[in-house]
Assembly symmetry: C2
């Protein structure tokens, strides 16, 4: 897509909601289950605590969304946590946010795909043993689609997202009505596991932390404000509002039904699947809910394939990541990001056996680091700019920052042993790597600066054509050197004698086809090709720092791939030995073989 | 080791025996066991057939050695089966012999190491579960030794070989005396397994085939005649005679004692270990026998590390293998052979679970292919040259050829299912590969021949310096091109505009530091660096077949390895895209970074 075209492809609000909503909405597929999985440790009686906890999380979500409504207006060019923190809090915070986000993008892929496969295996339990394989196949499919250039297309995204919203809200609505009028059949018996521990504040905090996974993906909108139709900020606010309303409705609905139906979490089926089965029976509507859930989770995974390269390119432009991430123009460059993201996501899935529940403690903590930093950044911004209404705006973001910071601490403490420690270790490590790279690029920039450069370096040129035998390929290389090079440079053929019997023959041929270029014969008592050549080059370069040696290697271009191993091995050897040497330039002159 | 020095390092007979004997002598460590393992299938009563079978094998060994005594005189420059067959029987036979030998060298490593580890685990049964690991460690050790350049040193080899000869002959001698005078303690009870099949001619033939593994390694002497002191042929004959006497004595002695002691093969201990334990008890002499057996087997494996590269280099010189095998001068080239040999040997060990008994059926058949072809070649030689005494000499080789051919057929039939089929499949496959490579090299030689070449090709040169930004590295590359290149060639800087905002800055810097070279700015609507560059090159080359384009890439040489991933990625991309294109030469101009 050319740059100029990008501007015209802005998204309307309805489509934008679909594009940005897949990631945040999809988290309702597992958030309720996570709360219940903690509460059930205290026995099935404790499950009723899910309602107040869900209300608390809904409140948190509302606070975060209201807070973000201000960010999107303040940063219409895209207000990811990294940019907001860099703008207002300084580098350490910005890099911490960036590291958390990169980790999160990887986890979004792992978690969403794992949860998507859960939705599938809930409907088709026979597939459950192949969980990890299915996850890998799904990631490979998404990666392949992105490698081949299937970009986010609004319409493609809109259908599954609205399908999901309709399915879940339909399920919740019908479930509530059917319960009220007692239309549902008797619930099947489910064994209620005994409580293993008492109800404690710590348990409730853990349950709350677990439910916070419902907030993952909210960041997506703030990243993509630029993609909306003007006025971008106002439209993004509306998208956020709708997102919040729908998200909270679905989350509370699912949690209430799970409580009302007395659903026990765990086993081989997801909570959403259990609710859907209870509401619809195992019929077409049930499979529709499962299909919609799986689809939106795969879409959520797909959003990382846009977010990860976007953040990488911003970081690369700021010189915190290798420069090649900065430009997306060449497919090969863009592929790197896709492969790195897929590789890490697959690795995580394999290590954690494809278990959504095992991956989630890692997921939420990174999200809350970025929330906290982003909101704190906004507070600093209001303090700094003192725009109209800055006082109450600061309060909104301030409350958001404080609340998310408290949740972050709670998460770190309650989920530490379950995997959050990994993120706590990896984030500083990544920040350290960013800083090291940055320092290197800065040093290089100083070193390469043209300031103070008196004049171009002066060179004495020697061109050496490496000769193994005299044939058409070599004649071509000699002629190349002879006609390219200025008369002030010395051109020589170099032949390393590994078998004295052949030397005379080579010299004879050279006399006829050397095109007037002198031939240097180097003896090699140890039959090595490399050593005499390197010694000869050293002897030339010992004459002074200005000695530039260009090695011309006649190379064959075979027609078939397997023929490569039959040719150019000596050339490869020479290149390997001369790579990374000062004042040596290696030039391959290809000779195209006809067969 | 320089060539000139090689001539002075000839081996005396005593040392030569040690150097060449490790491979053939070491096979007595498993030959008897192989016979017994077949016979035991017909019950323990059948074990007594081992004596006539061993005598038959000793006779065969004598015939082969007498036959080879003639080969070493006829081919004092080295008379491996490939050379003899090529000289007398033509290419197909020679290539078959070569393929068999290459396979054999791999199997020598696998089998000898596996048997060596058997000797170790017989003495230390606790190590048996780690058999495959031990094998891999042993091969890695031998490979490393050879990679670091520990070449066959006579003295190094003499000690373990003579230690082995003394240990085994001592064990046999003391065993016979002690049995005669009834000095040995009562034998421990060993369960005699019931016979699973009757004694049939086929069973006896299988037992005989199994025992033929005693002949492996005889080829070694004929390969190494050159290494002996003059007169090479006569000395090699003496070595062969001694080798035969010692080998037969050890083999018959071990087989007789096994019969006399009623040793039942199988289980976790080798037959030789069982005999040694019976003769010496589990004391120091027992451990000496096991240590000697292990050492000589490892030495036997090591001989392949000289034989494999030697045959490869002969084949490469005859253009049946990739040319890089032809010269051993550079360590990197020599390493290829070592790594290939070790890789295949380890693969076989892993596939066959480190079981000597499972590997042996593959081993013997290749040896007998080379025996038969080598002796047949000698028969043709006598018929052709009609030298003094050619009639009776022809008879000797003729008998050798016929006898080994019969054994070869027997082996192929009796061991087919046990693994010989693998060799029967792989040998023709290898021959096919040899022929394909040869044909390719021949065609190329014709294509590259200078005959009929009217004159050197004519070129129009364009030199393009790829500019990403203007810095010291680029200035250096521009100056390199400017001062190297003749005035007739066009030198241009090429800048691909991925971000229009930067272009003006680059042009400004270029105006000051472009050293008078014109700058071409290529627009890139898709932000790709590659596509506009390739199109520009195409537009130049469309002017005619004589258009030679040289791309100069300014490259950084970082100080630390990890910094490489931070630089030169665009250069890599460009090189990858231009590799294997006609009339394009890529030259990297390195810029050494100070940090």
């Amino acid at each position: 897509m050319p740059l100029s075209q990008l501007k015209h492809e802005r998204l309307g609000k309805t489509v934008a909601l679909a594009v940005f909503a897949s990631d945040p909405l999809s988290s309702v597929a597992y958030a309720t289950e996570e709360i219940l999985l903690v509460l059930i440790l205290a026995g099935s009686a404790a499950l009723s605590y899910s309602l107040p906890i869900a209300l608390g999380i809904a409140a948190l979500l509302a606070i975060v969304l209201i807070s973000y409504r201000q960010t999107v207006v303040a940063y219409p060019q895209g207000g990811g946590a990294y940019l907001v923190a860099r703008d207002n809090l300084g580098l350490p915070s910005a890099l911490t946010a960036a590291a958390s986000l990169l980790i999160d993008y990887v986890l979004t892929v792992s978690v969403s795909v794992a949860a998507g496969v859960d939705a599938l295996t809930s409907a088709a339990p026979a597939l459950r043993p192949h969980r990890v394989t299915l996850c890998i196949v799904a990631i490979a499919g998404i990666a392949l689609g992105n490698l081949r250039g299937v970009r986010e297309s609004g319409r493609l995204f809109a259908a599954p997202t609205y399908f999901f919203i309709v399915s879940i809200l339909g399920m919740v609505g019908y479930g509530l009505v059917a319960t009220a009028f007692d239309l549902l059949p008797e619930a099947p018996y489910e064994p209620h596991p005994p409580g293993l521990e008492g109800i404690s504040l710590f348990l409730l905090l853990r349950a709350y932390s677990a439910g916070c996974t419902a907030l993952t993906g909210v960041e997506a909108v703030s990243n993509g404000v630029q993609a909306l139709k003007a006025p971008e900020g106002r439209n993004a606010q509306k998208v956020l509002t709708w997102l919040g309303v729908i998200s909270i409705a679905m989350f509370l609905g699912i949690t209430y039904l799970a409580y009302d139906f007395g659903i026990v979490p765990g086993g081989e089926e997801t909570v959403v699947s259990k609710i859907a089965r209870r509401v619809f029976g195992t019929g077409l509507p049930y499979f529709a809910v499962q299909a919609a859930t799986m689809l939106i989770l795969l879409l959520a995974a797909n959003t990382s394939y846009a977010d990860f390269p976007r953040l990488s390119s911003i970081l690369a432009r700021d010189r915190f990541m290798p420069r090649q991430f900065a430009s997306h123009g060449d497919r090969l460059v863009f592929s790197n990001g896709i492969l790195i993201l897929s590789g890490f996501a697959i690795a995580l899935l394999v290590i954690f056996g494809g278990e959504t529940h095992a991956l989630l403690p890692l997921y939420a903590i990174g999200v809350f680091i970025s929330f906290t930093l982003s909101q704190s950044g906004m507070v600093r911004r209001w303090l700094r700019l003192k725009e109209k209404g800055w006082r109450w705006r600061m309060w909104i973001n301030g409350i958001g920052a404080v609340v998310t910071a408290i949740v972050l601490l709670t998460l770190a403490v309650t989920k530490f042993k379950e995997g959050a420690w990994i993120v706590v270790v990896v984030v500083p490590l990544l920040v350290f790597v960013f800083i090291i790279m940055h320092r290197h690029y800065e040093e290089i920039a100083v070193e390469l600066s043209l300031e103070g450069l008196e004049g171009p370096p002066q060179f004495q040129h020697t061109v050496l054509v490496l000769v193994g035998d005299v044939h058409r390929g070599v004649v071509r290389a000699v002629q190349y050197s002879r006609t390219l090079v200025a008369p002030t440079a010395a051109v020589r053929g170099v032949y390393v004698e590994t078998d004295p019997a052949r030397t005379h023959k080579v010299e004879e041929k050279w006399a006829k086809w050397g095109l007037g270029v002198p031939l240097v014969v180097l003896t090699s008592p140890y039959r090595s090709v490399l050593r005499p050549l390197l010694e000869y080059i050293d002897s030339i370069q010992s004459r002074g720092d200005d000695q530039m040696v260009t090695i011309v290697l006649p190379e064959f271009l075979p027609r078939k791939w397997w023929q490569h191993i039959l040719h150019n091995q000596t050339a490869l050897l020479v290149k390997g030995a001369l790579l990374f040497r000062r004042n040596i330039v290696v030039a391959d002159v290809p000779y195209l073989l006809r067969r």
